[in-house]
Symmetry: C2
Subunit: 346 residues, 2 copies
């Protein structure tokens, strides 16, 4: 903040070469005499030079930054932003997304700007941010099915990649999980353990992933002779897991297997079961979904369907990178396979 920061010019003078040469060594361009290279490097050291990014971005037309946007539903009022942010981060899922993204981005020196798009105004802000060239593209994680942001992004022809297939088709790349297969894995596990009265706590049915996990679960059970499977719709929160499990237990006291559409709800279910004197897994087997930290926090530790979130998030970043650098023109989708992780709860 005190004295003016040194510029290329300063370094050039110090090293007795031209600005262009300094620029070349800074950017690692070949065709520079090793001796001069060293000379410049020392001048940089002495002056404490750090290239001004605004100047560079102005000519390269690259911000080396991507927007990491957590996108909400339709029209929550703008004051709800704080609550929205807090809620998002309360889910261990999001931490894994960040980890995966940063893992890919960091070695490439690109940085994520955190944005929340929970209102119409906030969405416009995301678009403006990109159009101003402050970020080269967007990585979007929607918390709701009918998120309008993807369509806006596609229409503005801004580079973007989504986590999960959008409910309405949009010309944007995305990564996703084969949720139906995940539901199948859960069903098979319960069946293989000999469950006779399986039930399920689904995610919000407005979310496609919830639908598919449920469908996979139901279809598999149906194929093995279970025509009617009790379902309670949850909201992916611990609280909703507790509520749903309580209801299910009241209506179907004989249940002996539970598939919860995420680990947080499974954790809630385990709590309720224990409080009602049911042992997990001996009396009731419980299978979760995600393999998040909640799966390990839970007692007993959760048998769960693993979603390779970090890998998926890294792939998002990779796809976006390709789009930004023109290596990929058409929207692409990459679908990952779930995997059953057997622990103690089933």
């Amino acid at each position: 903040m005190s004295r003016q920061a040194p510029t290329l010019e300063d370094v050039a003078r110090e090293a007795g070469v031209s600005r262009a040469t300094v620029s070349r060594v800074v950017n690692g361009v070949r065709n520079v005499d090793p001796a001069i290279q060293e000379q410049v490097r020392r001048a940089i050291e002495r002056t404490g030079y750090a290239p001004n990014r605004a100047a560079r971005s102005l000519v390269t037309r690259r911000a080396e930054t991507v927007a990491l946007v957590v996108s909400g539903a339709g029209d929550s009022s703008d004051g709800a932003q704080a609550a929205f942010a807090a809620r998002v981060f309360a889910d261990p899922f999001f931490g894994r997304v960040v980890a995966g993204i940063v893992g890919f981005l960091r070695p490439r020196s690109v940085h994520p700007v955190l944005m929340f798009a929970e209102s119409a105004e906030a969405r416009q802000e995301v678009l403006t941010y990109l159009r101003q060239g402050r970020a080269d593209g967007a990585l979007v994680v929607s918390t709701h099915a009918d998120d309008p942001l993807p369509a806006l992004l596609a229409e503005a022809r801004l580079p973007a990649v989504l986590f999960a297939r959008p409910s309405r088709p949009v010309r944007l790349s995305y990564v996703d999980l084969a949720h139906r297969d995940g539901g199948r894995l859960a069903a098979e596990r319960l069946l293989d353990r000999g469950c006779r009265e399986p039930v399920t706590i689904s995610g919000p049915l407005a979310v496609a992933a919830s639908q598919e996990r449920l469908a996979g679960f139901r279809d598999t059970l149906a194929r093995r002779g279970h025509r009617h499977v009790p379902v309670a719709e949850g909201g992916f929160t611990l609280d909703s897991g507790i509520g749903s499990m309580t209801d299910l237990l009241a209506q179907h006291p004989d249940l002996d297997g539970v598939f919860a559409a995420n680990d947080l709800m499974a954790q809630g279910a385990c709590q309720v079961l224990r409080e009602h004197g049911r042992r997990v897994p001996d009396d009731v087997a419980v299978v979760g979904f995600d393999d998040s930290t909640a799966a390990l926090d839970c007692r007993p530790r959760l048998t769960t369907v693993r979603q390779p979130v970090e890998d998926m998030a890294a792939e998002m970043a990779r796809l976006l990178d390709d789009h930004i650098h023109g290596a990929r023109t058409r929207p692409t989708s990459v679908v990952f396979a779930p995997e059953l992780v057997v622990r103690e709860s089933a």
Copy 2:
């Protein structure tokens, strides 16, 4: 991405005025004829103009961006970044910090870039980022007491504000909580309920906040006649709460009150107590700390010492803003008061 983005020049031509005038209306500078103002506004609309931020930053020397850095301990290997990120986000505390920060920054159109500084290399990256002018300052949340980043930042004279007083004094502003008072509130609550055998699960004793919460708790108890209070050191995780409570229960079966240094550990403690047939709060009263989402997730809901994290985080952002704009020259500290929130657990 297709055709070139419109520039000031384009808008100026479209509106039949000079670049300077357009710039003035874009930046809301007075001294522009209302009629021309409207004329320009329409031209902007028609062309779909969005000011190029790199160009603006180049002249204003402002990125309108701050680094939000989560800073770890000494020297975790660089590959640990993913685990570090996931762990950080698993704590509901961080979501509240983000909410508070974004709440302040958004109305000012400044955006947070997420950075992790868990290794020496990562810390250098943060410094470089700031020196390149990509961010105007840093908001630092350390997860460890001996975080070297604050000193590096201060030495480089880069604008930065910390969450919590650093263990070694550093010429940087920070916000903090009166942790000792928090410990006192917890002790008083337990005593007022008539607890005779209080115990505590502390945070990591390397963390100053843990020490102070413990000191406040102990001092208050001592003053009321409890000379010796059993302590188990936890790690602020649910798991460590479970472990500590189990130990405490084994060694002090008569305990009837627990103060856990955060809600996550309190939640773990409640689990263990219930499993051992102790009713909360009838047999054992439990007081948490933070008033995070964990306090509500817990059954029974946690009586806890509230830390106004969102307000503290917003204040961090405000302090940084002041430093960046030269409104504040000397390091300042703002200490917030904790507050007891009574629910069901005590």
